[in-house]
Every structure is written in structure tokens, then in C-alpha cells.
Symmetry: C2
DNA sequence: TCCGAAGGAAACCGATCGGTGTACCAGTCA
DNA sequence: TGACTGGTACACCGATCGGTTTCCTTCGGA
């Protein structure tokens, strides 16, 4: 008991702050935007002093970068979706991601790329790599469906995904996700 | 001669500054991002003093709003594309807009919505209205094509357009535009 | 020739940003 | 008990932002 407490407290106290900071940053960056979120607010939200934040993340840009890595593991990812039927796994991409209370904010990676613009080029590269990996995973999933031209279909699906994320944000309406799913269904069945 | 000179000089001197400011702001907002562009840089680029800029635009937010109005008239717009064949007019949407030297920056409206985020809610509304009008115009074009379900096809085309704009930005590659065009072609012919 | 409005240059303002430096405090181990 | 470690609280820094004000020049019209 005491040993367990000691262990967890040691381990938790050493790792918890970083995770709390990352979780706070993720929520704020995504909902409020990267440029609109100051490091002080992140620190306060995480229940941590600014000094500690800068101990774990040498700069805001590093924090943004780690945020993207962090969010990749939480977001609907073709490599993460499990199930037997590859067709179902493919279409599962178009389930509106998570219980999005309030405003739809679209793809966090694309948003980051837009906000980073010419500043923070490392963020731009990170997003680029992520999008490439995503498209490749979709192609792989299409290959598992046994369609004739998985590369072609995969790019189409990725395109629909991106369009749904973007348009649902601009319109603040989830309908594009449904349209995208229906269109993807059509394309998949046609390509079979 | 003198009257003409006097007239043009009067008219030009009174309207030129505003247009120059708007043009400068449009280029900078689009290429460098809205938040990353300061009003001082806009004024300098337009060859105008900050004082004059604030004479024509009472705040940066107003300038952003006018920028969106301004860019709508310059961007490929389904209501603007002329030609006889509605099918060709529809597919013309997917020509990469303009001679985009350097980085692809996607849809200026969507970018503005992302950058505005929770700040500048009037910009968000402006973008929302624009996207709705755009989608409606695409549906109208689909109706002119005589397809069975123009609403459905129109939303699909609008989705592909948005996806191409977003994905080409994230990947910094124009290929999504070609994929979108090809997919649109397939959908149009299928829906005929 | 004088006048008055318009505009340019630049200082200035308050706020906020990312990032540091410092002094203090709570546990832990010897 | 006493040093060490990691964290907090908070003032502080320089830079930059959106926006304002002041002073001065210019130039068209009576």
C-alpha cells in the first residue's frame, strides 16, 4: 500500500504535469485556435505554473508540435479503427469525430497548418507528413477492400474526408459528413 | 482635356487609396495569413499612411470583412464562369485558381474562418454566408445540367471543391485538384 | 495671394504576447 | 537536522500589436 502510493506518487508526480499541460493545450488549441491561446492560459488550465510549462516544453512552437503528435493518437485514424470488414472501417471515418459540443472546428491538423502559415514551418511539415500518412493508410484500407484501383479510390476518400472536415467547419453544420459518407459509399461500391 | 484631367484626378485620388489598401490587404491576408499581417505592413504595401488606412476602414476587422467581399469578385465563382455547356462550367471550378506562385493557400474564406475562430464572429458569419451561396450556385449549375438530383450532386461537388482546396494546402501539392475534377466528372456523368 | 482640407511621417498609447529571473516553499534522503 | 530537488507565485523583459494623436507639408479653389 505505502509502496504503491510511493510508486504512483513518484511516477505520477513526474509525468502528470506534462500530460496535464498537453491535454489543456490540446483542448484550447483546438477549440479556441493556436494563435488565440496564450501559454499563460494553458498553464493555468493545466494547474501548473508557467515556469513548469517551460521546463517541459522549451517554446510554444514545441508545444504545438507535441500537440499534433498528441492529437493523432486520439483522433479517428484509419490505422486505429478496428473491425473485420474493411469497407465498414473505411466508412467509419465519416462518423463525426467525438461528441462535438458547440462549434465544429474541423481537422486540427489542417487548422494548425492554416494558423501556422509562414511562421512555424516545422508545424507545416508536421501537418504535411500527417496528411500523407493518413492518405496512405486510406489507400491501404481500400486495397484491403479488394477494389480495382485502391490508389485512386483512396485519394478520393481522403479528399471527401478533408472536404467534410473543412466544410462542416465553415458552415458550422455536420451535414457535410453525411454527404461525404454517402458519396464514399457510392464510390466504394462502384470501384468494387 | 483639362476638365477630363481634373475629373479623373479627383475621382482617382479619392478612390484609388481605398482600392490600393484593399488589394494590398488581400495579397497579404491570403499569402501570409490574417493574424500574421499587421495594419502597418498593409499601409506600407499600399503606399499609404496608417492614418489614411483608418480613414477608409475603421478597424482591422472591417478591413478583413471588406477583404472577403473583395476576394469574392476575383475568385473562381460558379456565377462568374461563363460558357454554354453547364457541365464544362461545373468542371471549370476545379482549375487551380490563378497562377499560384509559391505555396498553395487554399480557400481564403475557409482560412479566414479558421483564423477568426472565436474572435471576429462577424467574419465567421460572412464566411458561412459565402459558403452557403457557393453551394447553392453549384446546385443551380447542376440543375442546368439536367441531372436527376441536382441538390445531391451539388453538395457532392461543393464537398470535393472544399476538400481539394484544403488538402492541396496541407500537402502543398496541386494534385488534389486533379483528383477532385476527375471525381466530379465521374459523379456528373453518373448522375446524368 | 491666402486659406482650408487631406494626407504623410512618426511618436505615442495601452494591452498582450512569448519567455526569464528570482525568491520562496514542500517534500525527500542522508 | 540540513542540503537538495522540483514546483509555485509573481514581477519583469523586450517586442509587437491595433489604434490614436500631433505636427507638418502640399495643393486646389476663391
Amino acid at each position: 500500500m505505502t509502496t504503491t502510493e510511493a510508486e504512483t506518487s513518484r511516477a505520477a508526480d513526474r509525468r502528470a504535469p506534462r500530460d496535464r499541460i498537453l491535454a489543456a493545450a490540446a483542448g484550447l488549441f483546438y477549440r479556441e485556435g493556436i494563435n488565440a491561446t496564450g501559454v499563460e492560459l494553458i498553464a493555468d488550465t493545466a494547474g501548473v505554473s508557467k515556469r513548469t510549462l517551460y521546463k517541459y516544453f522549451p517554446s510554444k512552437t514545441h508545444l504545438v508540435d507535441q500537440y499534433l503528435t498528441y492529437v493523432r493518437e486520439k483522433v479517428v485514424d484509419p490505422r486505429t479503427v478496428d473491425g473485420d470488414d474493411p469497407r465498414e472501417r473505411l466508412l467509419a471515418l465519416f462518423a463525426v469525430s467525438g461528441p462535438v459540443a458547440g462549434r465544429l472546428r474541423g481537422c486540427p491538423f489542417h487548422n494548425a497548418a492554416v494558423e501556422a502559415a509562414s511562421a512555424m514551418p516545422e508545424v507545416t511539415e508536421h501537418v504535411q507528413a500527417e496528411k500523407r500518412a493518413f492518405a496512405e493508410a486510406v489507400v491501404e484500407l481500400c486495397r484491403a477492400c479488394g477494389v480495382e484501383d485502391p490508389r485512386r479510390l483512396g485519394r478520393q476518400i481522403a479528399l471527401l474526408y478533408e472536404g467534410a472536415a473543412a466544410l462542416s467547419t465553415s458552415l458550422d453544420d455536420a451535414e457535410p459528413w453525411a454527404v461525404a459518407r454517402a458519396t464514399a459509399e457510392t464510390l466504394v461500391d462502384r470501384a468494387g
